[in-house]
Amino acid sequence: MFSLGSNGGKYTKPSFVSYVNPEKGNDALQEKNPVFLPGEVVFCSASPVLKCTHDDLLEGSIMGTLFCTNFRISFVSDQVLLEDVVQPFRNRLYGENDIPLTCVDQIYGDYDEKRKLITNTQMKNKHPNGIIVHCKDLRVFQFSLKLAKEEAAKKIFQGIVRHSLEPKSLRCIFAFSYCENIAGAPETQNKPRTLMFENIVDWMEEMKRTKGNCKLLEINKDFTISQKLPQFFFIPTNVLEKDLAAYQGKGVPIWCWSHHSGCALFKTASLPLVQEESFLRAQKLYMERMLNAVAHNYLYAVKAVDLSETLPSIQDIQQSYSRFKQNFLIDNIGEFWISDMKWFSTLETTRWLSIIRQCLHKAVEVVEYLEKENTNILLIEDGGTDLSCVISSLVQLMLDPHYRTLTGFQSLVQKEWVVGGHNFLERCNHLNNKDKESPVFLLFLECVWQLLQQHSLAFQFSETYLTVLSDSISVAIFSTFIFSSPYQRVSSMKTESQTHGSLLNIPSVWDWSLQFDCKSQEFLFNPLYREKSKQEKTRNKNQRPKPIRQLSLPNATPPKKYFFKEETESLRKMLRGTRISRWMHLSDSAQASVWEFYNAWQQKPLDYHGLLLPDLDGPAIRLWMQRYLRWIPEVQIFGGGDITLVNKITSLSQELEELRMELEQQVRQADPRCKSTETVNKSTIRMSCFFPFASCRSGSFKPAIPTSHCDGEMDMGHLAEREDEDTELTDNSVIRGCAD
């Protein structure tokens, strides 16, 4: 028998391919089953298993049962008590002792005190005494299998390794089993809604909002032009239809966003590399036509920015991140304090922060072209769906306050990443084929976090939102993050629906109610966000020139024509390079120019609803502490951290709101005592600085005292041996050095 999901007694045939026969838990275990999700099926389980916590002050080891299902590895404690602890922020899909299979990063086996990295190829029969699971959301679990029966221990070990590390097919991703077993999610009716960009309406709405002037294409509705491009997209009006299919959609400038001046941001995949002269010439001519078309969008100025040449490669990003994250996957305290000594240089050698800075820097460069010079921009990248997504979204986030709202941001991610064709499936490595893994989307979130921490009043969403979003990437329930392209999504959902006999719908991550209840969803909003007041809105409307006006200027054409000619001339000159991307390689002066641009911006009064630039200086680019340090007990500041500040502001704002209400009531002469007691319910629980992720603690606790001192680690040279002030132990008078 299968252990079934919680959706009543309804029996659904599991549609995954299983290597291990699902096992029937014995009766004693039955009651300790985790709460299964619809479509979730247990592969195997073992009991008793010890979960070891490195924070042994708190509870030490916990006895329980370890399950492996088609969704997760789940540890269910024998102690019922733990379940009752009320957590302010709970995920409905998985608990604190659950690891979604796609969230497993690495598994180590504990073989008689020797730790070995388990890889899928090495499936030894000898199972380890314990396993250590490193998760993509930076949690670390240690399970001891010593107490479990030999057979069960072996089985659970093999099951976990098989299902979380071995390559699998898309069809095995839990989202498919899940969506078959849930009712089609009701359309979210809340306004404003997240634009999904899966239909023409959303695209039109976006174009209308930005007042751009491009041509909508429906020609790829059935992916006949390209399987990499969205079904619907905008291109410059001057692109000829016959050019679209020339290189399977590569080289076609896809509209991203229009600046209020009229210039716009486009992106494209670079053309395939060719050797032969005639092809090369054809490519050059083709790209020239495309550039001209982009230039024609506004004022005949265009800049092509090649990202493949100036930014780190996808492999660099992956390598850097895998070194970086290792510093946070800590499973013993000694290791923590030893690594503390070289902390800054360790961070630096991973180069992760430097990659973040490079991306932000590049985005500021592009922003400068758009904002200061009103130049059309064409982002070019080999695949056109990785760094160009990072840069184009960052540019839009800096220039357009709409994307700093929650729905605006989600729409941006839909437009640039999901529909834009970022290969989430391979970049997130959901199918365990390591070779194309790279945390490009996470890199984008990191950059957004930098902006958020530098300008916390400008964003409607919170740091917690970004952290939760980054966690959601590896949950594999959301359609947002499991496909390689819109084509794959549309085609596989079509096949699925056909086999299933009804229309299937994998939920989007933006349906936050799947993960969090109403109260928890409040944490996704930034209490510091300053909404734009009505006055400001109207003022800005008056100030900003309508972009249309500029385009419709009657006499602008003759001089511009000349300009256009010149521009093409220079473009031609630049096209003489062997590779198209050479043309407009940003020079070293870009650095200086960006600084100047930033300085000029900084001099001006800061408008949170206007242009927002990041400070790129060394000290300003920081570590996303909430995401990376939240599970490490040693670094929890109880009763402190920025969260205290945020909470104070939140409660003050609430108080203000209540006062306002009270005022209104009093004016209406209602009962003045109405509801003013609510805020009194505040306890002095010492909240961690990583709230809402780490648990609260009441009462006293031990401070984290460093265990290893720097005995001889710090090389102080001869100075350390010098007596300090006590040179005068025997001589009380001050020895003054001779005057210079």
Binding site: L606, I637, G640, M687, C689, L719, A720
Partner: protein, 635 residues
Amino acid sequence: MEKSGSADSLGSKRSSSRQPSVDSLTSTNTTRSDRSAHLRSAVSPDAASARTDLGAEVLKESSRIAEGELQLLPRESVQDTASDVTYICPFLGAIRGSLTVTNYRLFFKCLDKDPAFVLDLPVGVISRVEKIGAISAQGEVSFGLVCKDIRNLRFAHRYQEGSLKKSIFELVNKFAFPVSNALRMFAFEYGQPFPENGWKVYDPLAEYKRQGLPNESWRITKANEHYDVCETYPATLVVPANIPDEELKRVAAFRAKGRIPVLSWIHPETQATVTRCSQPMVGVNGKRSKEDEKHLQAIMDANAQSHKLFIFDARPPVNAAANKMKGGGFESEDAYQNAELVFLDIHNIHVMRESLRKLKEVVYPNIEESHWLSNLESTHWLEHIKLILAGALRIADKVESGKTSVVVHCSDGWDRTAQLSSLAMLMLDGFYRTLRGFQVLVEKEWLSFGHRFQLRIGHGDRNHTDADRSPVFLQFIDCVWQMTRQFPAAFEFNEFFLITILDHLYSCLFGTFLCNSEQQRLEEDLPKRTVSLWSYINSQHEEFTNPLYVDYANHVLYPVVSMRHLELWVGYYIRWNPRMRPQEPLHQHYRELLAKRAELQRKVEELQREVAGRAAVAPPEKAGSPAGSPVQTCV
């Protein structure tokens, strides 16, 4: 920004409040307040329209230029002005202007720039004036000023050949180092009256009374009234009740510089104490002192909760052992039964000085971005901060959680010991986290207990290579700042308060940080002849108040001392770099909310009075004051 009046005319403050050219700020706060003013106009809904804002901006601009004139403090006098000086700004390039030198400050201005550029700094911050290179082809001489506040200034000055007039930089040299030139420090001239007298902030008897002293185990002694037990200690000391004054002298003979173990702080509930002293004079032969052993036993016995005593030696064990050669050393566990000795591995003043020198190289004038973190690490500055904080944390933990008394010392007990005892007290006692409490802490643990400010800072002394100089007090303030970062609502004072203290540590405008000990301060009659820094601060305390402060006095703060949570104090060390934007709009935001709340509360009360007048219903109490609600609320 619209402050005026006498208090405002203090060098550093003033230049900042009206000076938009970032380089010239003597304090960071400026950019912040300028910025927030913009913020207010840009974001707040009830701000005037954009056009009037612009008008206001222009007005401000012109008034700035008018104010670009030097405003002298009482008894400040212009010594000379040179009109053709070029300031070589590392951020803005060469700026031509005029340079004025007074007996207190150096004032450079260039009105051609828009906005006008002003550089205004007390000559006290200058540690070295040096001529760089020979006369250039243009007949210019370059001068470099090395400052104590993490910046170097460079000027070029046309040299009038054949002129009898001395270079203006010779004047700088004269007034920056009054001690070396047999001049009086400006602090003795400056006689600005303030409504508050800061010299009265600390009254030892009142402070000990606040701590519940004397009690049955501890007595207040006047044995050092004439500073003959220990000349670097204060006149008022707290010692175990059963140790008579005569014995104290014998204990003093066994402690370096006579700095006997005395009480710094007592736990209000457990009676566990923090006591401080200098190293015992053990020497190579392992000398012992019956009186000293008895003294420590008495300290332990005064705390009924524990039968143990922890001795924290701030030094690395190697250095402590090396001190034996000089007659010093550390307590042996044979001689002091029930005592446990712990070394805290904090390095000496020379290591700290070198570390700060390296830090300055890394942050001024520009940061090398690609190696920022490893460069920062190579200075070891934060590593030292970590060790000091970790030491204080261990002390606080022993006293609070272990209910055990502790003795803290280093070699002389006036540098590392002061850092540790004061930081531990800051963690343990909420009083010291208030604006006045912190002043008491500095007066008590640093000034009265003889941290040698004159020697460590070298006020007015030309000898910049003096090996006694060391940034010990700066490190302490840095540690405090780290704590305020980790507990943003636990301190009544703000970052600007800490920066102001550091600015006036060097300015020599106030008498507070002059001299080396209480005895010297009395000899010099400083309270009569100079103004206290606290007079200035307490006369306009709103400037220095943290709007987020919540008094939760009984909470012990345990900061996290891991490098993961320590960061370089950009607002102090990198404040001269105009690109470092102070990141504190949140405080501003909070202030605005507070103001709004006050307004609404007022309205509510008015209405309530009205209603009450009509219906004779008692108005409900609104729990509104920030002090009423705890910081950590469960959302």
